[in-house]
Symmetry: C2
């Protein structure tokens, strides 16, 4: 049996309640929400927000912190490196987890909206992919195909671009569903498996031809 609802919550509870509600509200309504609308939707007076948040900007910052936090599982990179398991299996497992993590209306919409407003906010998160996960994926596919990836700046850049092209398609599930409001398949698992199949098959086979593209990237403009 729950305690009867208090009209006057404890400060900590109320702050969390406002924050949780605001995340959902702002995700749907957009960053140009007004404090009045937000307060009314939550059923509290507008000045109450200012008891818990110094101003509108501080509320927004805390929304970002809350949304961006805990979305990334630091274990993912370790699992991707586990060579006792075939790379296809590792990739499928990782991408299912990744897709499930990002396929959240609040996360996607606040991510895109905040990036549109101020790209700094998304930098830290993107760096994680860019710096560690992407090179890792390329390296592991190369290793399993028994190839040594070419070294050099252009080679690294091309590798990154190949993986970007693959990886962004999973983030794009979220964009399609929560930004474009388009249908996506009910069952994503077979799609993820098929895409991994196409990608790993294609990259393994075409990797020996990458030298051509790398040269083209190095060449003069």
């Amino acid at each position: 049996m729950q305690k009867a609802v208090k009209k006057y919550l404890d400060a900590a509870d109320r702050e969390q309640q406002i924050l949780d509600f605001a995340i959902t509200y702002v995700a749907q309504r957009g960053l140009s929400f007004t404090t009045r609308e937000l307060a009314e939707a939550l059923g509290v007076s507008q000045p109450l927000l200012y008891r818990y948040f110094k101003n509108r900007d501080e509320l927004l910052r805390k929304i970002y912190d809350e949304v961006y936090l805990k979305r990334w599982d630091p274990n993912w990179n370790a699992q991707l490196s586990d060579r006792t398991i075939p790379i296809r299996t590792r990739l499928i497992r990782y991408l299912k987890a990744y897709t499930e993590a990002i396929l959240d209306e609040r996360w996607i919409r606040i991510f895109i909206a905040s990036a549109l407003e101020d790209p700094q906010i998304s930098k830290r998160y993107l760096g994680l992919l860019h710096e560690t996960t992407f090179p890792l994926i390329y390296r592991e596919i190369a290793a399993e195909a028994g190839m040594t990836p070419p070294a050099g700046a252009a080679a690294d850049e091309l590798a990154l671009e190949i993986v970007w092209g693959f990886h962004c398609s999973f983030f794009y599930f979220g964009v399609r569903k929560y930004i474009y409001r388009n249908r996506i398949p009910e069952k994503l698992d077979p799609v993820i498996e098929a895409r991994v199949d196409v990608f790993v098959t294609g990259l393994s086979e075409s990797m020996s031809r990458m030298g051509t593209y790398i040269s083209a990237m190095e060449g003069s403009k």
Copy 2:
């Protein structure tokens, strides 16, 4: 020699000038721009905007019309169908043209910002890809690989998803550059060629295994 700059432009010229300026301005500043800022940045008085646009919303609608128009070359689909040319070549040519067309700050930012606000606006554009280009690409790759793509709703859906995953990576160049404000390679052509290589190689080879994934999509939840 140009005519001296008039302080009082002809109505049609002024309207176009405001619209052109507003597109760039709104792309950078966001949909929550104010008419005062816009007018000041352009160097005219704020009420002047109302001589040419009934209200703020009408200006926005005309911005959308102008930005979304003429961005899609109806010839692309025809070129993609030309079987006298290898599918890799066709895809590379199409994707270079497509990437160049969408890699425009005003286009990308207004597309994303407007979709975030009201997904209806982007529907017509996405429908073009979805309904015609994507099935076409899949069909052409299958044809060149000498395969007959499986029929049925699940098969169609999977095919669409495979191509979505590939195609969105080119749109994503724009997202990375103009939304995330991240570097993208100076030379995109080799990247496009490499991605096409990986994709066509992978899909041709793995197409015979698609039946498994299709069954998984049909199966009960």
